[in-house]
């Protein structure tokens, strides 16, 4: 589904990604972790072309992201993305947040997109919040709406960029619950996160990044059982300490 082949990216002289290669098969859940500044967010934003890269190749469902001839908006409409800071549109109601993409991008009519939106709001448990504005919702609620907004486009895969990092601790689980349910439904997911409990319960594979490199790319049990690299061991010992 997602193939990342030898991708490198520079900000001026500084190389943020160094020859990263991996892939995500259909229905697979892949966790990307690593210390801050290791390039994991940058890598995931390269997948839907939000960040350009200078070398290598990424294909999503057979379509090359880096190719200048690729219709990026069309490709992005098929890949959902959830951001660290939610990024709901604050001047629109929750319902409008969920329908605007369906109407403007997919060309669905108003009624159809409303039906779809309410179905997804039910799914994330926020049906009665449809007419509220994002600013009146808690962080956890906003992130659930953001997930519903991405799902409203009927994506073939979902990208999550640290979806729980900006949340108060008591709200993390309500968001993770939605993501676990999504994973169990067979959604293809690439998730940048430090939530190792989540990784343990739903991941197929774990990718560990450090300084722009993919240091470890292993099956979940191998990664948590006996990471091969020293840096991954050190990272795990730090975050699994408590």
């Amino acid at each position: 589904m997602i193939e990342i082949d030898n991708v490198s990216k520079w900000y001026l002289d500084f190389q943020v990604l160094k020859g990263c290669s991996t892939n995500v098969a259909k229905g697979e859940v892949v966790i990307v972790c690593g210390p801050s500044g290791s390039g994991k967010s940058t890598l995931i934003k390269c997948v839907n072309g939000l960040e350009p890269f200078q070398k290598g190749n990424i294909t999503v469902d057979g379509i090359s992201v880096g190719d200048v001839k690729t219709n990026l908006p069309k490709l992005r409409a098929r890949v959902g993305m959830v951001f660290q800071h939610f990024e709901l549109f604050p001047h629109m109601s929750v319902l409008q947040n969920l329908t605007i993409g369906q109407i403007k991008v997919l060309g669905r009519d108003e009624e159809e997109s409303r039906v779809r939106a309410f179905k997804l709001l039910d799914r994330v448990g926020l049906h009665e919040f449809a007419d509220k504005f994002p600013g009146n919702l808690s962080g956890g609620q906003q992130q659930r709406v953001a997930i519903a907004r991405a799902l409203a486009m009927d994506p073939i895969a979902m990208l999550f960029d640290e979806p729980t990092s900006a949340l108060d601790p008591e709200m993390i689980n309500e968001v993770l619950d939605v993501m676990v349910a999504l994973a169990k439904d067979g959604m293809t997911m690439m998730v940048v996160t430090h939530e190792m409990g989540f990784a343990r319960s739903v991941a197929n594979r774990v990718i560990f990044m450090d300084r722009g490199e993919i240091v470890e790319d292993a099956k979940k049990d191998d990664f948590f059982g006996k990471p091969r690299s020293e840096r991954a061991q050190l990272f795990l010992s730090k975050i699994l300490h408590h």
Binding site: K45, L50, P73, F83, H85, N136
Partner: protein, 230 residues
Amino acid sequence: MFSDFDWDVILRSLPYLFFDGMRFTLMLTALATAGGIVIGTLLALMRLSSFAPFSIVAGGYVNLMRSMPLVLVIFWIYFLVPYIGQWVTGASRPIQVGALVTCLVTFTIFEAAYFCEIMRAGIQSIPRGQTEAAKAIGMTYWQTMGDVILPQAFRNMIPVLLTQTIVLFQDTSLVYVISVTDFLGAASKIAQRDGRLVEMYLFAAVVYFIVSLGASIMVRRLQRRVAIVR
């Protein structure tokens, strides 16, 4: 000292002052604001474009306009545009554009430079993540701007935009240099015809004060109503 003053002159000239003078002033203010915001927003998008020729052209234009006195621009458009029109259309004589069109064009393109800077600040005040979120659901550049970024930028900037409009309302009095009769021009004519300079200029000052102050109080009220909860 006020006993020598003839306040009746104001009453007698009210219809002329307001139906001729003020109507023109308000019309010019409204049209130049509308046109200025549209052109200014396009200029702002050009200025923020990563395509260098766009940002250079828009930046040059804005800097040029902002370093010129408005009166000079009025003269330029008034005396130059007929010749440019002649050159473009290949006519044998300069094209007459008239004072009214000159006023409209001048104030619109002049204010566009200021509205550009306001809208640019407004667009830059919207977090980058909003653009990313709009793009991530497949929106094109124009959809991202039109549905997500500009509505927010515009709302954030409404107080500043309206304050600029109040300044424009006062600046329209400069049209006297090409003999167009706005509110101040009308007051001036009466004043000189009847030899009642002090009365008329006092009255004009009071009217400008009331309109401008009233407008800025309304801006403050509006500001509270349209603020976006984040």
